[in-house]
């Protein structure tokens, strides 16, 4: 794809809009506590326009993630991860662009950031057809809710358990399993 030369123009437009819209946007009710505000599509891309709101899991800014910092081990692989706050902001961007399902996916994702890689992969595998009993799925939902405060994901797994029961997709529902 051709490089766009419009980055500067976009930046200028954004500055102008910023000046015009000095009044704050509606309510920040669903904004994460640490971000202190709501964002919309106008703030996008956040990594360029809202650097102030984007932090690594250890609290560093994007500008802290330099080659020098990596070489001195003051920025490690752990820093190159997305936080639940950033995912919530991206959910807001998606929502303001009219994409509610993407926002929902981002919010499920925000909950999953707390779960270790291995466990999250196990949970995915447990959701595959004929892998788990109803009770096993409910146990995962409980774990999501109680251990990780992942309420949306817990509801997702509970719903899957019900559907799998109705459609005979649980372990033991097939003669060979």
């Amino acid at each position: 794809m051709a490089e766009l030369n419009e980055q500067l123009i976009a930046e200028m437009v954004r500055q102008v809009l910023k000046g015009m819209a000095s009044a704050p946007a509606a309510s920040g009710a669903s904004a994460p506590a640490s971000s202190g505000g709501k964002v919309t599509a106008k703030d996008y891309p956040l990594g360029t326009n809202r650097k102030d709101m984007i932090k690594t899991p250890t609290g560093k800014t994007l500008d802290d993630l330099t080659l020098d910092a990596v070489m001195k081990d003051s920025a490690t692989f752990k820093d190159f991860s997305i936080t639940p706050q950033a995912l919530e902001l991206q959910a807001q961007v998606a929502e303001s662009a009219g994409r509610r399902q993407i926002a929902m996916n981002m919010r499920r994702a925000a909950e999953l950031t707390a779960i270790p890689d291995e466990r999250v992969l196990e949970m995915y595998n447990a959701l595959r057809p004929h892998r788990s009993t109803f009770d096993e799925l409910i146990a995962i939902a409980d774990e999501l809710q109680n251990k990780y405060n992942a309420k949306t994901c817990a509801a997702h797994v509970r719903e899957a358990a019900d559907v799998y029961k109705r459609r005979k997709l649980l372990r033991g529902d097939r003669p060979e399993s």
Partner: protein, 557 residues
């Protein structure tokens, strides 16, 4: 018995490549029909208590898992009564009408059931599908993607081909394997090569779902797309997933800051023997809506690996263009296929690509082969590297931005060499089997893996295991590059890792510039509204497309 006297004309025609292709008549009972099967449901919707209680003639208690997921997550219940009350023809008209804004069309489309959408598509001829695609494409600027693979998984060839592919303008590049255990090394080659050729290029390694996620978690890939969904419950289960497991997987990717799209395509259900007599397009619409419902930003479709099936039936290539259109009309990114060999006929394979090429899509190819056909481990693409100059000529002939740019031999050789050298250094830093200067030289000037001496495969595979076992990450790659003086490449790999922190490229139809700026449907929405609107070639870009190096320059005569 005397032999029937043959017409020399017909004997000649029978020798043409198109006669080697498979063609078949429609066979409704097994779903061997592109669009409009008599077994497709009749569109309907009933909503009660904030839930869909009947969809396309099926009662909620009888919904299979796909239907339930679509009914609960993919249909805008506020819009549905109004949208479903419109005639199919009226909606089809709106899709091609330059006076009806794209945003209005996507709202209507999101209020429709699968059977209704399939019928709307059946109202459009191919020229109308192209017009509608131009208007409905999600991101305004079109783009394209490459396959970069090697028949011998040769890491030096892969890094050089990735560098060249990025230089040629592919904004995403996808690899896979000949030997599965090579996967981490292939991902590593693409990661480095891409940043040498054109910083910002996104790379992925297509393999089994869980592995793709693991390799992405390590920072060795930036995105994934081979996350398959299917239209019938039986085939979905054969594929070892459900809409709920796949939606969960989608969230796993986002939680690790990785871009992803799903994959589906007409013909997969027939090929797996369980199409239930439904048309290919109707089943594909279910896949597209499952993707929508899962909150995934985009979809790779256009039949993909099952192209032989729709390619064989009447109106099959039209159905493929229609499935791309449904994806963008539901406001998602489309990587529109053109990525698998399906015909022996050069005429046919060119024609198959033209609807996406003329209209422009988010990714015209979900895999233009950046290598010779024999090196393509996705069973060959519809276009290979040998066709690249034809492609550049077509961009120029029609004044179309197909996403590629003419390159010179000198600059290409230079990026191939630099990428191979950088990988040589990284292998040494990691204690992997050495890459010799001879291999670097061969990969620099090679066309395909036949032009380079074979590697010691068992030793390479040990290195691949080591990479996984020792938990080598993208950050380790940055360090190795910088230690060996490749600071500029290290900076760019670092830039790609930083994308995971902001998550900007998780938005719909995102790509990254050489400076790390992210464009997507959020800040580059398609605003086409007729001639002289929407995406326009910049004067610089048109100069670039015009200047194919082998054209005669009048000023030189």
């Amino acid at each position: 018995m005397a032999e029937k006297k043959r017409s020399k004309r017909f004997e000649t025609l029978e020798q043409r490549p198109v006669h080697k292709d498979g063609f078949t008549g429609e066979w409704v009972d097994v779903g061997l029909i592109a669009m409009g099967s008599p077994n497709d449901p009749i569109p309907s919707i009933k909503i009660a208590g904030g839930k869909v209680v009947e969809m396309d003639g099926i009662k909620r208690e009888d919904f299979n898992m796909n239907e339930q997921f679509v009914a609960d997550y993919a249909i805008d219940l506020e819009m549905a009564p109004k949208a479903m009350a419109m005639s199919e023809k009226e909606i089809a008209h709106k899709l091609v009408d330059i006076n009806v804004p794209r945003t209005e069309c996507t709202k209507i489309m999101q209020g429709l059931t699968p059977a209704k959408i399939a019928r709307v598509m059946d109202c459009l001829n191919i020229a109308e599908i192209i017009l509608a695609m131009q208007k409905m494409r999600t991101r305004q600027t079109p783009g394209t993607q490459a396959h970069i693979t090697s028949a011998t998984d040769n890491p030096v060839m892969l890094v050089a081909d990735a560098a060249e592919g990025a230089l040629r303008g592919f904004t995403e590049m996808e690899t896979t394997v000949a030997v599965v255990r090579y996967a981490p090394l292939n991902a590593l080659s693409l990661l480095i090569g891409a940043q040498v050729g054109r910083p910002g290029t996104l790379t992925q390694c297509a393999l089994e779902e869980a592995f793709e996620l693991q390799i992405g978690m390590r920072g060795l890939t930036a995105y994934a797309e081979t996350i398959s969904v299917y239209g019938t419950e039986n085939v979905f289960i054969d594929g070892d997933d459900t809409p709920w497991s796949k939606a969960f997987l989608a969230s796993c990717y986002a939680s690790r800051g990785l871009k992803m799209r799903f994959t589906s395509g007409t013909g997969s259900e027939v090929q797996m023997g369980a199409a239930e007599g439904k048309s290919m397009l109707y089943l594909e619409v279910l896949c597209i809506m499952i993707t929508k419902g899962a909150g995934v930003q985009g979809l790779q479709n256009g039949s993909i690996s099952c192209i032989g099936v729709p390619g064989a039936v009447p109106s099959g290539l039209r159905a493929i263009a229609a499935e791309n259109l449904v994806t963008v009309a539901l406001d998602m990114e489309v990587a529109s296929g053109n990525d698998q060999t399906f015909s022996h006929s050069d005429l046919r394979r060119t024609a198959r690509t033209m609807p996406q090429f003329f209209a422009g899509t988010d990714y015209i190819f979900s895999g233009y082969s950046g290598t010779p056909n024999y090196d393509n481990m996705f069973a060959g693409s519809n276009w290979d590297i040998e066709d690249q100059d034809d492609y550049l000529a077509l961009q120029r002939d029609f004044k179309v931005d197909g996403g590629n740019r003419p390159v010179t031999e000198d600059e290409t050789v230079a990026v191939r060499n630099r990428a191979a050298r950088a990988l040589q250094a990284v292998y040494e830093e990691f204690g992997f089997p050495p890459i010799t200067d001879e291999e670097v030289e061969q990969a620099t000037y090679a066309n395909g893996s036949k032009d380079i001496k074979p590697r010691n495969v068992p030793e390479d595979l040990k290195a691949a295991e080591k990479l996984l076992k020792e938990g080598i990450t993208g950050v380790d790659v940055v360090k190795a590059l910088a230690k060996r003086g490749y600071n500029d490449i290290a900076e760019k790999v670092l830039m790609m890792l930083k994308q995971r922190v902001s998550g900007d490229y998780l938005q719909t139809s995102a790509w990254v510039t050489k400076d790390g700026y992210v464009w997507s449907a959020v800040n580059d929405p398609n605003e086409y509204a007729g001639p002289m609107t929407g995406y326009q070639l910049s004067p610089e870009r048109w100069e670039e497309i015009k200047n194919i190096p082998w054209a005669v320059r009048p000023e030189d005569i």
